[in-house]
């Protein structure tokens, strides 16, 4: 009796099953964070200039957009004077150690820019606001700018229409990762501004050396605003100062210079000015007063039409000695006297959980043994309500008003006020876009758009996006948005002006910004004016 033919196992598998297996494998692969390559928006081939086509930008029905100024170098902000004339700030510095000259320019028609004031090599100039002359009094009819202070420390500047520059505050702790930002006048007539942290998450590391500043300012580190007690966790890293010795390592603790360790229970004295904070001064200058801290990089501040005070805070990156994964950008309502959780929380969530643990990495340990004690404002503004600071162990910091996409770099904030524009009282946010891979890996480009946030619901929705896909226009071979860095409604509220920083490529070697590619866009609603 002949033996029955033996069939190979593979031919016994039904084709349908094989197809399903392959489909499942494809699904898993396209979903898998680990396997898929990073696709940051800065992954572009550097080409000179940029294409402009407003038609490449999608907006809600009834809205229009146009480019009203082009060819700017690293623009960061705009403001308006008493007559409604438009002014723009060129930063004079871009990450990647790209240096230029900060300038305040009056924006005329046909791409004509009249310089009002020119700074030196202590950029970037990160923001501007104008106090109307018609309000009278000293300091009125002037521009107020924040100078990032990458070389000599941050400053708040007053610039007259004649171009005269006067420093109201100097030596702010801006020599590190983040700068002095976001000047805004409060309803109390005081000038509020943000001060970013020196580091990503409290520990100076080799990422700061790559930024460039650690080589210049070897002992610089974060300064707390109040006395804090450390947990004594230290982090091992390579020593970039002895690069010839491959195995040379150093340990560094929180709120300490690179290479300095800490011990449990160690108290670090707080002082003002300090990092990760919002401070305020009078329009005449003087010693800054602390408003709130525990922020990471409050790059944009704005008062809502109802008088409430808001800050946009850039979230943690996955870099350095204490990398944090999956931390969103936060929109806070700011209450005077509150600590907002940096460096141990993202919003009201502790970092010491899997949600913030990098894949194959360590769960971030707490740096602070206990919470900073609450403090009472010296003279609380009636418009900025003091908030009871919770105890560290029992309650987390307050929850943010909205959580925006990880690495989107939410940098610009203003509120719609006019029915002619629509979306009244909603927050509009400029998302600069990811700087992957330097900040961590993303599967697709994040940001590069304008969002609006319904504060009542904490819901963020797209408002202006590139029609052809995710990412900056240069990556999409299109003429739309590149890197929106700030925005401001016109004095009548009918138009939204968006400052587009320009083309910035990012590779494993760092960012590379392209000069003369900055644009100012204007968005308005048809039949709204």
């Amino acid at each position: 009796m002949p033996e029955s033919p033996v069939r190979s196992p593979s031919t016994r598998v039904p084709p349908v099953l094989l197809a399903a297996t392959l489909a499942l494998a494809s699904f898993l692969f396209t979903s898998c964070y680990i396997l898929r390559p990073g696709q940051g928006g800065g992954k572009i081939k550097s080409e000179a200039g940029r294409k402009l086509d407003p038609g490449d930008i999608a907006l809600p029905a009834g809205y229009r957009i146009e480019a009203i100024a082009t060819g700017l170098t690293f623009p960061t902000a705009v403001t308006f004077d008493d007559t409604g004339a438009l002014y723009a700030v060129e930063g004079g510095y871009a990450y990647g150690e790209e240096w230029g000259v900060p300038r305040l320019l009056k924006v005329m028609k046909n791409n004509v820019f009249v310089p009002i004031a020119v700074g030196d090599s202590n950029g970037p100039w990160t923001g501007v606001t104008y106090v109307a002359a018609k309000e009278g009094g000293a300091g009125k009819g002037s521009f107020y700018l924040t100078e990032g202070g990458q070389l000599r420390g941050g400053r708040v500047l007053r610039i007259g229409m004649d171009g005269n520059i006067q420093a109201l505050v100097e030596n702010l702790p801006s020599l590190g990762d983040h700068h002095t930002n976001a000047p805004v006048i409060g309803p109390d007539g005081m000038l509020y501004f943000g001060q970013g942290t020196a580091t990503n998450s409290g520990v100076v590391g080799t990422d700061d050396y790559k930024f460039g500043w650690l080589a210049r300012h070897r002992t610089f580190h974060d300064t707390p605003c109040q006395d804090i007690t450390l947990s004594g966790v230290n982090y091992l890293s390579k020593n970039p100062f002895t690069s010839g010795k491959k195995k040379d390592t150093v340990e560094t603790g929180a709120f300490s210079p690179f290479g300095s360790t800490t011990i449990p229970g160690q108290v670090v004295k707080g002082e003002v000015p300090c990092n990760g904070s919002i401070m305020r001064i009078s329009l005449q200058g003087g010693k800054p007063e602390l408003v709130a801290w525990g922020l990471r990089n409050p790059f944009a501040l704005a008062f809502a039409p109802d008088g409430r005070f808001f800050a946009l805070d850039n979230g943690y990156d996955q870099r350095g000695s204490r990398p944090i994964w999956g931390a969103g950008e936060l929109l806070w309502e700011i209450h005077q006297g509150t600590w907002y959780g940096w460096p141990d929380f993202s919003g009201s969530k502790s970092l010491a959980v899997s949600e913030f643990t990098p894949p194959h990495g360590d769960t971030p340990e707490r740096l602070l043994e206990k919470a900073p004690v609450p403090w009472l404002p010296t003279h609380a503004s009636a418009d900025i309500v003091p908030h009871p600071v919770p105890s560290y162990q029992d309650d987390p910091p307050p929850a943010p008003m909205a959580v925006l996409p990880v690495h989107s770099s939410a940098d610009g904030l203003d509120f719609s006020r006019a029915p002619e524009f629509g979306y009244e009282n909603q927050a509009f946010v400029a998302e600069f876009g990811d700087m992957a891979p330097g900040v961590g890996k993303v599967l697709e480009p994040v940001g590069f758009k304008i969002s609006r946030v319904d504060l009542a619901r904490g819901v963020a929705e797209d408002f202006a996006i590139n029609r052809k896909g995710l990412g900056p226009a240069s990556k999409l071979k299109a003429g739309g948005l590149e890197r929106p860095v700030s925005l401001r409604f016109s004095p009548d509220g009918k138009s939204l002006y968006v400052v587009d920083f320009g083309v910035m490529a990012v590779s494993k070697h760092g960012p590379k910004a392209q000069k003369q590619t900055g644009v100012i866009w204007r968005i308005w609603k048809e039949n709204g004016q």
Binding site: L22, T30, V353
Partner: protein, 116 residues
Amino acid sequence: MKTRVRIVLLSCALGSWFFFGCAAGRRSEPLRGSLDVSNPKVAHGQVVFMNQCDKCHPGGDAGLGPSLNNKPLPGFLLGFQARHGMGAMPAFDKEELPQTDLDDVVAYLKALRRNG
């Protein structure tokens, strides 16, 4: 015969790849019009999604994590993945994401997929 089977399998795999990996995931207002959130479950799911999910899947699209809008997973699998995690995605327990909230998130994602 074997050649035909191989072609069919390869086509399935490539089709899946394009379907899961490259299908358009963008569903936001500027491209698709505003989302109808008149259903209370969808409206509540949107709020929960914004608080828990949007930071990695902006508008249901890809970002830090993959797009959800172009994955035709049934609702129970979406819920299963949120509850138990997978790969780099963290698991959300019932304390952090109660079952009713999770159900509403799924309702929101389904509405988002249908948008436009």
